[in-house]
Amino acid sequence: MELKFILESLLFSAQKPLTARELRDLLTAAAEAEDAAPEAKPFKKVKDADITAALEQLAKDHETAARSYRLACVAECWQFVTQPEFGPWLKALVGAKLRPSRLSAPGLETLAIIAYRQPVTRAEVEQIRGVAVDGVMQTLLERGLVESVGRAEVVGRPNTYGTTELFLEYFGLRSLDELPAADELRKIVVEKPPGLVTADLGLATPPPEQLALANEEKPVASE
């Protein structure tokens, strides 16, 4: 019996998403059951790494099969889900998903900043957005998408914020590493052209190269 198919059958039948650890415990339980089937015994001490590898392989299998569903990993929990393009029919089947109303543009912007920059203080978020974020932060906290994760070692020791597991679930992300363009946005370094300060200030319009050229590199495209 191949490990990945056992895991598949478990995920296929489970009433809730399962972690690799939970799957391992189920394999152990099946091997240790009083009337354990002989074929269950070899999986008594299967390693976490083997389970994770099998799950990755399984997810790849299903991606390749390109059916109407796939094996998704959201917040480190594995689950079979349908592909989004079948939404219209599934809505007919189970009704629209019970989800809170969609986030507003300010809500999404604030959430994006917190997601990429966590842990981050409210002041830092406001600096990036250029506006106060009190109301928006309140909403995000109430919806459980962000939470206080500690205090910054600066004057006043303000709260720092980070995203929650619900955030990952809400957006269907496996982990924060799966955030689009995560590497780039975690630390945006906008290189300052060295010559800028001594620009020809008499000009009403700065010569483009002064603002545009960051060292030898091409400026980061804005779109």
Binding site: P17, A112, I128, R129, L185, S222
Partner: protein
């Protein structure tokens, strides 16, 4: 007027308005004419004032920053003022560009999150039917009652074919409980036994029926399991993996009134 109001409400804040103005100019943030941008921005603020719209404080702060940038560009380098809190040599133009670039990236990230949000509304988890409805997680009766019934029927037919005087079978005194003990005895001696072997010595229909009922009872009590290697293979009977201390005989005897008077052959 209503049109403007709608428009202004769309802007999240001053940075948003600036990005909007830059996009309208169709230039890269790095190449924007800040002086022109400042004029346009202030024009919009004036417009908001004219239409008596509430102007958030941040817009006014940005307006003054832009005014400062604009005025500063009119001065020679050595006459430039340094704003309080601003590092020596910090260029407010650069600071603004940096802020716009950073903000733009997060705005784009927010748009991607919005796409994910909408997608997730159409992603439905599989919440399977509760397992007891699944036909294939049935008890470990690897051979169904129907297979057994079919098998015993074949044996009955064979007996009927070899014995025309079917009626005299009623003289037989076999009981189910005796057969239960017999089967247990056979399986103590060996790991498993073929279905037909159990019936091989049967001399009458009633003996076959008793043996069969004994078999069913032992299966019910999880003392035995029946297996078949292939769909049409002969059924094999073996001890169940876990042998519970057998209350078997008692149960069976109780169910069979004539048990006490039964005789062994």
């Amino acid at each position: 007027m209503a049109e403007y109001k709608v428009k202004f409400e769309v802007f999240e804040g001053p940075l948003d308005l600036l990005l909007y103005l830059i996009r309208k100019e169709e230039v890269d943030i790095y190449e924007v004419n800040l002086t022109k941008l400042a004029s346009q921005f202030i024009e919009y603020i004036e417009m908001m004032r004219v239409f008596d719209l509430e102007i958030a404080g941040e817009f006014l702060v940005m307006a003054s920053t832009l005014m400062y940038i604009k005025s500063r560009e009119l001065l020679p380098v050595d006459q430039q003022i340094v704003v309080e809190g601003e590092e020596e040599g910090e260029d407010p133009r650069w600071e603004l560009i940096r802020q716009l670039v950073e903000y733009k990236k997060f705005k784009d990230a927010a748009a991607r999150l919005q796409t994910l949000e909408a997608t997730q509304e159409n992603v439905f988890p599989r919440i399977p039917i509760k397992p007891e409805i699944e036909p294939d997680t049935r008890p470990k009766l690897e051979v169904s009652i129907f297979d057994l019934l079919g098998a015993v029927n074949n044996i009955l037919k064979r007996i009927a074919a070899t014995r025309d005087d079917g009626r005299n079978i009623f003289d037989d005194k076999w009981t189910v409980s005796e057969k239960i003990e017999q089967i247990i005895g056979v399986l103590k001696a060996r790991e498993n036994v073929k279905f037909s072997e159990l019936f091989a010595d049967a001399t009458s229909r009633s003996e076959v029926v008793c043996t069969f009922l004994a078999l069913l009872e032992l299966i019910r009590l999880k003392q035995l399991v029946c297996r078949q290697n292939d769909a049409f293979d002969e059924i094999e009977i073996g001890r169940a993996p876990v042998v519970v201390a057998p209350p078997v005989s008692e149960t069976a005897v109780a169910a069979t009134p004539e048990a006490e008077s039964a005789r062994h052959s």
